[in-house]
Amino acid sequence: MSPQDAGRVRVAGVSKAFPRRFGAATLRLQHAGPSTGQDVALADVTFDVGAGECVALLGTRRSGRTTMLRTIQGVFSPDAGHVLVRGRIGGLVAMGVGFSPALRVRDCLTLNGALLGASPEELGPVVPDVLAFAGEGPKVLGFRLRDLPGPRRRRLAYGLALHLPADVMLADGVVTFGDDAMQEAGATMLERHREAGAALVLATNRAPLVRRLCTRAVVLDAGRVVHDGPVGPGLRRLRKR
């Protein structure tokens, strides 16, 4: 991989604030920078993520991890600074979006894939792997989602999120779930993404998972970066909070 091909995510001086109360006055404020009457979610955050790198975003509640992830994803735009990405963004952040009980499983997979930018041509070869991952046969594609119990739905959603091609993988909250075998399979898939050259950003505080998958940790505290470096010190810093 050439050096110019190595970067995947560039976060430079990003700040983001949210209005405390949303009303008529907020409509006027929403493009203003961090100021009184607003909750500062991110303050001058800077870090890069390269291809084949896995970065853990560590932090307590209201540290700004989710906002950071959503800003990389493109849901939020920064008030100041900029975020740049290279390649398609995928991962677990949009897991199961578009899944509706009234739809057939096939349509749910297609819609969720389309929401993540995957064409039916890209989705087609992935579906057998998703079904195998979720422990389902091809028959399930014709079932209405409401006919499946919750855990089976979630396995399908999780499987699709893990199998869609992506250059930047983002995960927030759910990184692995289910029984031990499912958790192991999920972690293995994320490792395979990383080894294939995707950049991973995981907003999780689960130490065993972070140690296993991540090559670096960025610790956020009240929206500021207080550590950007090796995983071990990052986790220790988190425990001190």
Partner: protein, 291 residues
């Protein structure tokens, strides 16, 4: 598991409101969203898609008997059933599209909060759904036209298609504005309900527009009354389906009304683009808190 073109990727900002090129690139997603909405609509019903025919036929029958027979308008307009139905199809499309668009963003919270999909795709997918749903009423209209001596007039059919395209553009613009408004102002749905009720009576669907001309004369008041994309589309549909079945049709739409109506449609799209750009982040922030 990188994407195939991962080696030749360029840096880009992940956040962007949807421009025309961005919408075109995501046309497949618009179609998938629309497909999902259509799948849900009649799902689990015994009569299923037959309801798509029952609705327009019932509505037509009610209007025909009440307005045509009981109020006696069928004596003033030749082939009144076709006259009324060719207009109803248009108004029904406009009303259904506007109502669906208005709810499109607030009903798609998960998409807004958890994906970077441009918000404009949500109302657009609803418009596509309603365009597809035009199929059954158009079939009923065609059957009714054929039964009353209709013959194909290619030029008139093109006029009808152009009119419906203009209306689609207009409702996409207006629906996007109301969809954004619905996120911030709870009164929006009530406003849209009143608008759709007014549209049914403020456009010459049930009565001939010449009745208005008789009241207000041939001046600017009549022009303004006619100057909207719903009426332009109604004229187009009449030109294509009703006019060929009668000996004496109604006069064509005055040119000033046509020009103003087209301008209104283009303005609606322009205002929608400005509104979306202005409130794009506000939408996410607003829906971030709501349940």
């Amino acid at each position: 598991m990188r994407t195939e073109d991962a080696g030749s990727l360029t840096w880009r900002e992940p956040w962007r409101p949807g421009g025309v090129a961005s919408i075109w690139r995501r046309r497949r997603l618009i179609w998938e969203l629309s497909k999902a909405q259509r799948s849900k609509r009649y799902q689990g019903m015994i009569l299923g898609r037959i309801w798509a025919y029952i609705g327009p036929i019932t509505q037509f029958t009610v209007y025909f008997f009440v307005i045509g027979i009981i109020l006696g308008l069928s004596r003033q307009v030749q082939n009144f059933p076709l006259y009324i139905f060719s207009g109803l199809v248009v108004v029904q499309f406009f009303n259904a599209s506007l109502t669906a668009c208005t709810r499109s963003i607030t009903e798609s919270r998960a998409i807004v909060r958890r994906t970077a999909v441009p918000h404009v795709l949500l109302p657009l997918s609803r418009v596509v759904t309603e365009v597809v749903r035009l199929g059954p009423p158009l079939v009923v209209l065609l059957v009714a036209a054929l039964a009353t001596g209709w013959r194909l007039d290619a030029a008139a059919l093109l006029v009808a298609i152009a009119g419906m395209a203009l209306l689609t553009l207009f409702v996409a613009g207006l629906g996007t504005i109301t969809a954004v408004a619905d996120v911030f102002v709870r009164d929006t749905r009530q406003f849209v309900d009143v608008t759709t009720m007014l549209t049914r009576w403020a456009t010459p669907v049930i009565y001939p527009w010449t009745l208005v001309q008789d009241q207000f004369g041939d001046g600017w008041l009549t022009w303004l009354y006619l100057a909207n994309p719903v009426t332009i589309a109604t004229f187009g549909m009449r030109e294509a389906f009703w006019q060929p079945t009668v000996e004496e049709g109604l006069p064509p739409m005055p040119l000033p009304s046509l020009v103003i109506g087209i301008t209104v449609a283009v303005l609606a799209v322009a205002v929608a683009a400005v509104v979306l750009r202005r409130f794009d982040q506000g939408i996410v922030q607003r829906l971030r808190w709501s349940a």
